[in-house]
Point group: C2
Chain length 350, copies 2
DNA sequence: ATGAAAGCGCTAACAA
DNA sequence: TTGTTAGCGCTTTCAT
């Protein structure tokens, strides 16, 4: 798929910045900067004639106040920040929910994603928060923080919080109930060797899902076998490796519950490499229900998180905090098992 | 799906901002602000002992320089902006491509979405650009601009540009070829009454797709019927209305080519309302291949745009502009028809 | 009704 | 090697 390009090229002008500043407007209109500021911000105490004159210049020059400068001077910006590690499907869904909810509430939305080399991931949101907070944004929603947030004065709410998220209000899906339902379903299908590929153990959600897995095993009377639990870190490649190990064992599991959909797709990769068919030879269940889950071949049985609602609720909580209201410390939204094609009865022993 | 909440609540502290500034660090370390600045930015000419002393205070206080303040003082920020109307599926895909490509290039990414009431949409990116440009961001990628961009000194590249995108380098999919292939496919299936639901006619892409539609009709020897073309504005609800009109006509079309997938889903809605089966009674083709297209019931035949590559290429172009290199004025990436379940032979006349 | 001046947090000349 | 000073663009007292 080679790109076609038109022949004309473009070179960025190297002349100095031509940004129109408030000073330009003031000079042009023959008034002081203070007056321009008043006009632009609709303050009282400006003669109608002056207002008109200034506005004319503003329009002609296309002046817009610099967010940066006014932000530095004022406290507030009317901008809310969303901090995320990257625009992965999961984050994108959440963002849609947040965005849809923010519409018409008078706030602009700013999604900030760190330029993250894999090793420097640690604590990037702390740095970013400090750099943006108090100046650029009035409040923030943080997706799956890698660290406990510092106690800032700026309102913050976390989605899918870190373990031991001390003082930060958070919004999450009910991971334990969801996982338990999923694994119970596998047990009901007759599976007894059910493996679990865990998520990022620094996150609450990973623990919750593992807890649900264990609870379901116990409920079904299946003894817990720690060798059937492997680490996937919520990543496709890591999950692939973990699944390969699991599936190459002599007495391999007949079902795998992955801690999220991305990991489940890693299991798909492993099955493909080993020539195992899903669901005939191996049942797979994920968690999250990102769009890719439905689109996968075969479509993935998974646990739906109400990502849109979660985003919306996080925004509501943040808005309430901004108003100085009391907000619930932790909100848990219910999950639901979605049965698709990646799960089936236990394969007959060859 | 009612949320469960823990009982504890949280009230945001109302005390004044506790942001640690460079002045705090200077005072604490017993040096001048300038020295702290030099240390933090790794400038030469600071005694090792001083550096150490300052860094200790920085760590203890958790100081991070304010993006806003330093941005105001310096020209550059090492931050690239992506301006979008909202985090719709299409934008999310593009964002993933941009983000994946930006990783490790030394720039942070900032996605800015206006708080857009439907009526004030017009020209929002112009306002946003002015507010952010020159100060907060070093360059920008704009998705489907609603307006011709002002000629700023800041490097900008447009994805899916506005019609008559005069001076701004742009990246787009080859909409005409894609549309032509799609409609030719419908014609080959035997359809002769093929309707088209157009996109936002202020965008180049909408024109290209309509051109492709017409070209395919001509190629197939089907006379163009302007009553079979309706406006959908790239929106699901508008497309729904347009499709209802089209499908209620006495001699209704047997196939509809929608200008994008979202519009195609609007056609699905219409078909459902009217009790028409897809593809038995009506064939539908979309454009874009967002994840929802594959997940739809029935899955949607559509034209794939290489959204990830487009995002990546836009970033490359922007980076080159930042370096002062010459860049191609317009890049077109090839599209491909993906045949799924929403298309079939012409229904036999009842 | 208008403008002069101070200052938000930071960096870059320039002096010391 | 360090500190002093000026100023980025803007808003906000406080005089006039």
């Amino acid at each position: 798929m080679l790109p076609t390009m038109s022949v004309a090229t473009f070179t960025a002008p190297t002349t100095s910045n031509d940004r129109v500043t408030i000073t330009d407007v003031a000079r042009e209109a023959g008034v002081s900067v203070a007056t321009v500021s008043k006009v632009v911000n609709g303050r009282y105490g400006v003669a109608p004639a002056t207002t008109e004159k200034v506005m004319a210049v503003v329009d002609r020059l296309g002046y817009e106040s610099s967010l940066v400068a006014s932000s530095l001077r004022r406290g507030a910006t009317n901008v809310l920040g969303v901090l995320l590690a990257g625009f992965d499907p999961y984050a994108a869904e959440l963002l849609k929910g947040i965005s849809a909810h923010a519409l018409g509430r008078g706030y602009d939305l700013l999604a900030f994603s760190g330029a993250i080399a894999d090793d420097s991931t640690q604590e990037w949101e702390k740095r970013t928060m400090s750099r943006l907070g108090g100046t650029l944004i009035d409040g923030a929603i943080i997706l799956t923080p890698t660290i406990n947030l510092p106690n800032t004065k700026m309102p913050v709410v976390a989605i899918d919080p870190h373990t031991g998220h001390a003082g930060t209000p958070s919004v999450a899906a009910d991971g334990k109930a969801g996982a338990q339902e999923a694994v119970k379903y596998l047990a009901d299908l007759g599976h007894t060797r059910i493996a679990h590929i865990r998520g990022r153990m620094d996150l609450d959600s990973a623990h919750q899902r593992e807890d649900g897995y264990k609870a379901a095993l116990e409920e079904a009377g299946i003894p817990f076998d720690h060798t059937l639990v492997a680490d996937g870190g919520f990543r496709r490649t890591w999950a692939l490796g973990a699944a390969l190990d699991l599936l190459r064992r002599p007495n391999r599991p007949t079902a795998i519950f992955a801690a999220n959909d991305v990991s489940a797709l890693g299991v798909y990769d492993a099955a493909k490499q080993l020539g195992l068919r899903i669901p005939e030879d191996l049942s797979v269940v994920g968690f999250d229900d990102i769009p890719e889950a439905k689109a996968a071949e075969p479509s993935l049985t998974t646990v739906t998180q109400p990502l849109h609602e979660m985003g919306g609720r996080a925004l509501d909580v943040l808005l309430d905090m901004l108003k100085g209201k009391e907000v619930p410390m932790h909100s848990h939204l219910a999950t639901r098992l979605v049965i698709r094609e990646s799960t089936g009865p236990v394969p007959t022993v060859e």
